[in-house]
Symmetry: C2
Subunit: 189 residues, 2 copies
Amino acid sequence: MKTVPVGVSARHIHLSPAHIDILFGQGYELTTFKDLSQPGQFAAQETVAIVGPKCKIEKVRILGPARPSTQIEVSRTDAFSLGINPPVRESGQIEHSPGLRVIGPKGEVDLEHGVIVAARHIHFHTSDAEKWGIQDKQLLRVKVNGERPLIFENVIARVSDHYALDMHIDTDEGNAAGVKTGDLAELID
Amino acid sequence: MKTVPVGVSARHIHLSPAHIDILFGQGYELTTFKDLSQPGQFAAQETVAIVGPKCKIEKVRILGPARPSTQIEVSRTDAFSLGINPPVRESGQIEHSPGLRVIGPKGEVDLEHGVIVAARHIHFHTSDAEKWGIQDKQLLRVKVNGERPLIFENVIARVSDHYALDMHIDTDEGNAAGVKTGDLAELID
């Protein structure tokens, strides 16, 4: 059986260095709250508020390290609350996505774009992918035997020497399946 | 192909006659906002607020007519916000479920129990069930080809002459699948 640990991603933000400067002050360095499953990635102690046409959400966790472009990942539920309609996308594909206002302790940024609902995906270390015959970008089916069992289709494989095995779904998907971070899922083809 | 229309249920409340009296005044009659897919059921114009340990949610829609026991159906996302841990249950099975405070324009009720996360289910008219060979209480698999395709397992069949064909899922499940009310799903066995 090909089992994969599940990571349920709550809403979060990745910030560019320029936006960290504006939101937290020139030259500010994010501090680690906890390490994430992917090597080198961390949840920062710092949070920001995000503001859409319909509501403001406080304490949105920043994930580090800084990235070239600022990106906000929300659930569809969050998106309805905020009053925006972001596309379901792979991380980094933020063209023509909506923006939001981001508020930090030292400043604010009005993003023109950057908000997405993350497409469900699995990070494979190259060795895992080779062992199971999986190619980068392949679409997979994954069964989750939680309290509300279901099969996710079109789960995108992402293969790299820099990745650790982990399936990332958002809170809507985690809640719909009744699973939490650390539960196991099963690749079924 | 066995196709079934999808109904995505937002959080809502069913009230007992006694609780309608307390919340809206003695002898108050709910008024219809719109008819629902199941014959005789309606969304009322009236709403209430519900209050949990962590937050208050305003404008929770009442579904009519009145029922013997008050029951609140929320998504898991709502439950986390409210600060309660309701079980996933079929409608009517509210034993040992948590309660909430319910606030209406004329009074308040502190429920000792009655809050559930609704178990996904399909209402079949007896004629639909006979045509497709489906028994009441049977667990079904249903494929949803939305923006985020998935297969729901353990979908409970509910068969009655009083029902119209409709699959009921909650907002977490609808958002996880990228479907909305009126989209079609496919029974796959």
